[in-house]
Amino acid sequence: MSDSPHLIIEAHDLTKTFLDFWGRPKVHAVKGITLEIRPGEIFGLLGPNGSGKSTTMKMILGLLHPTSGHLSVLGQSPRDVAVKSRMGFMPEESYLYKYLTAVEILTFYANLSGLSGSVRKETVNRMIEQMGLQAARNRPVGEFSKGMARRVGLAQALLNDPDLILLDEPTSGLDPIACREVKDLLLNLADRGKTILICSHHLADMQDLSHRVAILLEGEVCAAGSVKDLLATPDLIRLTLPRPSREKLSAMLDYLERETGFRPGVDHTGRTLESVFIETVSRRRIAS
C-alpha cells in the first residue's frame, strides 16, 4: 500500500493482539481500525477505558508493534527512529525523572532530540517561559504539583518543534485557567500547521479543540467524523433571541406550532461553569 503524502497518520485495518506467555491470543486490544489524519488538524481519539485508545497511540509512537494492518506516520514506519525527530509526545502521567530539575529534564530531552549548544539553551529557556515555570526552573520535578509536572511534560513534547504532537489527556490535572492556556496553545499550534492527536476523556475539551474525532469501543471505531457533523442534529434547529414579553413569546409559540405542527421548547441560555471560574479568578487577579 502506498502512503499518501498528504496524510500525517495513515492506519488501515490496524490490529493489535496481546499474547500470553505461551504465545496464545490474550486480548484483542485493537481490531482492524482505519484512521487518516491530515496535516494541521487536531484529531481526537475518544472512548471509554479499555477501548484501545492508548494501544493505538503506542503503536503510532512505535512503542508497540501492530499485529497486522498498515500504519505509517509522517510517511514512514513508526519504528523508524528518524520519524521521531518530527514527533512530540506527552503521556497521561508525567513520567519524569523526579530527582532532576525542570531545566535539567528539558536539557536532557533536548539532547536526545539532537539540539545542542546555544540552540538547546535558548529552546529550553523559551519553553520554561512559555509554560510559566520560571520560578520553579531549578526545583526537582518530584516536588512539583501535578499541574506543574504536566507543564514540564508538555514542554518536553514541544521542545523539538514537532510536526506531529501526540497528547494523552493533555488537560488532566490542570486548573481551568491552565487548561484554557493549554487549549489556546494547541489551537495556536494547529494554526501554525502542526498536526495534533489527542486521547482524552474530557469531552468538553475535545469538543473545544478537535476538528475531527474517532470514537473507539472495544478496539473498533464506532463513530468518526468532524465534530461539527457529529454534533449536528439535522432535524432540529435552535433559535436564540432577546427575552421577549410573556405575551409576545406565547404568540410566537402559537404561531410556530400552527406552522410546524410541533410545540417548540423554551429555555434560558446560560454560561458554563468554566467561563464563570475563569472570569472570577481573572477579575480577582487583576484587582490584587
Partner: protein, 456 residues
C-alpha cells in the same frame, strides 16, 4: 551512532544516582566498611598480616558491594524504567535503543569508576596509616614496605631441558617390554619429564640444590628481592630442617644465610638488592646441614617451586591496574544486568542477575568440579558408579567453568594481597576478555532482546 544522546543518557544515569542519594549512600557504606573491616579482623597479629587484611578483605568487600549494586542498578536501569514508564519519553525521541542501552552501561561504568577511585584512595590511606602507627620494629616496617608497597614480578628457576633424556629413557622402557600394552611413547615421556622435574627438587639429608634465577629487570633501585619457598615431606611429623642459602652471581662475594624451616610452611628470605645490583641472573644454593630430620624432602610444596619476587614497580600503579580489572569485571556485570532488564520485569531481572552473580562467586567450586570430575566426596564405602545424571551434571559444570573462567583468571585481589605485580599486559588481557569479548557478546544479546521488546 550519535554521541549526543549516548552521553546525555550516561550523564543522566550518574546524575540520577547522585540526586537519589544512591551514590552518597554507597560511598558512606564503602567508607564505613573499608575502615571498620581491618579493625574487626585481626589477621595473624603481625604488620604484614594487617596489611594483607586491608588489601584482601577491603578490596573483596568493595568488589562484593559494587557487584551487587551494579547488578541492581543495571537491572533497574531498563526494567524499572519500563515499569514506571519513564522510558516511554526517552524512546519516543530520535534515540536508537542501542544508544539507550550503551548510555546506561556507560553511566553505570562511570559510577563504578568513581566508587572504585574512592576505594583506592581509602585502601592507600589505610595502608599508609597502618605502617605509620604500627608499634612494630623499624625492621618489621621495612619488611612490610618491601613486601607490600612494591609490585613484584615472580621469577621461577630456569628448568633444565629433560626432553632428550626422557625420549631416550622412554624408548628404552618401551623396548624392554616392562610397560603395559597400549602405552604410547608420548605418555611415557610426559610422565618421565614430570618425575625428573620433581627429582630435581629432591633433597636428602646433607643434600644440596642449586637454582638459577634470571633477572629480567635490572635490580638497581636498592629494594630487596624476596625468595619464597616451602618444603614438602612424606612424613607426618613436622621436624624442623636446618640449612643455608648461598646467594651468588652479583658483584659481591657470595652471601650465606642460615635458615631453619618447618616442612609444609611457606618461608621467605629477603635478599639485599644491593647484593645483586646489575646482575643478569643469580644462583641460589640450598645446603641441608643437620640430619635431625632423616626424611628426604622436596623443595616444592603443593606443586609450587621456589619463586623469586623481584621489585618491578610501585603499589600506586599496581593498585590502579588492579582496580581497572575490577572495573572491567563490574562492566561485565552491568551488561548482564542490563540484558536481564531488557528481557525480564524488575524483580525477576534482579533475581536472574543475582543468580548469575552467585554462580560467578562460586567459580572456584565450579573449577574444582570441572577439573577433578568430582562434585561430591563419598567418605565411606566404595566409590559410587557414575550415572548418566552425574555425567550430565559434570558436563554442565565444565560448560559453566568455560564461561566463568575469566573471573578466576582476572581476579586482582590475590595478586595485590601478595604484593605481586599486575602488568599492563594482564590489565589489557582483562579488558579484551571481560569487555571486548564477554561484555560485547552480552551487549549484542541484550540489545537484540531490547529491540524486540514492546513497551505496552
Amino acid at each position: 551512532m550519535s554521541l549526543l544522546p549516548l552521553m546525555a543518557i550516561a550523564r543522566l544515569t550518574v546524575r540520577d544516582a547522585v540526586r537519589s542519594r544512591l551514590l552518597v549512600s554507597l560511598a558512606v557504606i564503602l567508607v564505613i566498611g573499608l575502615i571498620s573491616l581491618p579493625l574487626l579482623i585481626s589477621g595473624d597479629n603481625t604488620l604484614n598480616g594487617q596489611i594483607q587484611v586491608i588489601l584482601a578483605y577491603t578490596l573483596s568487600f568493595a568488589m562484593s558491594i559494587l557487584s551487587a549494586v551494579t547488578l541492581w542498578a543495571a537491572c533497574g536501569g531498563i526494567a524499572s524504567e519500563i515499569q514506571d514508564r519513564r522510558l516511554y519519553l526517552v524512546l519516543t525521541r530520535p534515540v536508537h535503543r542501542h544508544e539507550l542501552w550503551l548510555g546506561k552501561w556507560l553511566g553505570i561504568a562511570g559510577l563504578n569508576a568513581m566508587l572504585l577511585s574512592l576505594t583506592g584512595l581509602i585502601v592507600s590511606a589505610m595502608i599508609a596509616f597502618t605502617l605509620n602507627v604500627s608499634p612494630e620494629s623499624a625492621i618489621a616496617k621495612r619488611q612490610a614496605r618491601e613486601h607490600f608497597l612494591l609490585a613484584r614480578m615472580t621469577v621461577i628457576p630456569v628448568a633444565p631441558d629433560f626432553a632428550e633424556q626422557a625420549r631416550r629413557d622412554a624408548d628404552a622402557l618401551l623396548q624392554s617390554g616392562r610397560l603395559p600394552a597400549g602405552v604410547t611413547a608420548r605418555v611415557v615421556e610426559a610422565e618421565l619429564i614430570k618425575r625428573y622435574q620433581d627429582r630435581r627438587y629432591s633433597l636428602p639429608p646433607h643434600g644440596a640444590i642449586t637454582l638459577d634465577f634470571p633477572l629480567p629487570v635490572s635490580i638497581d633501585n636498592g629494594h630487596d628481592l624476596i625468595l619464597k619457598y616451602a618444603f614438602d615431606s612424606s612424613r607426618p611429623e613436622r621436624t624442623p630442617v636446618s640449612g643455608e642459602w648461598t646467594i651468588s652471581g652479583g658483584q659481591h662475594d657470595s652471601l650465606v644465610m642460615s635458615v631453619t624451616n618447618y616442612p609444609g610452611i611457606p618461608n621467605t628470605v629477603l635478599i639485599p638488592g644491593e647484593w645483586v645490583r646489575g646482575a643478569p641472573s643469580i644462583h641460589l644454593t640450598y645446603q641441608r646441614l643437620d640430619a635431625k630430620n632423616p626424611a628426604t624432602l622436596l623443595l616444592k610444596a603443593n606443586g609450587k617451586e621456589p619463586e623469586l619476587l623481584i621489585p618491578a614497580g610501585g603499589i600506586a600503579m599496581n593498585l590502579t591496574r588492579g582496580l581497572l580489572i575490577i572495573l572491567f569485571r563490574l562492566g561485565f556485570l552491568a551488561a548482564l544486568g542490563l540484558t536481564a532488564g531488557s528481557l525480564l520485569s524488575m524483580p525477576v531481572a534482579v533475581f536472574a542477575g543475582f543468580f548469575i552473580m552467585t554462580l560467578l562467586a562460586l567459580s572456584g567450586y565450579v573449577e574444582t568440579v570441572a577439573s577433578s570430575g568430582v562434585f561430591y566426596v563419598a567418605h565411606e564405602g566404595p566409590a559410587p558408579t557414575q550415572t548418566w545424571l552425574d555425567a550430565a551434571i559434570l558436563n554442565l559444570f565444565k560448560g559453566l567453568y568455560g564461561i566463568t573462567r575469566p573471573f578466576l583468571r582476572f581476579d586482582p585481589v590475590p595478586l595485590l594481597q601478595e604484593g605481586l605485580r599486575i602488568s599492563w599486559t594482564v590489565a589489557g588481557q582483562a579488558f579484551v576478555w571481560l569487555i571486548g569479548l564477554y561484555t560485547t557478546l552480552t551487549a549484542v544479546i541484550g540489545i537484540a532482546l531490547f529491540n524486540r521488546r514492546e513497551l505496552g
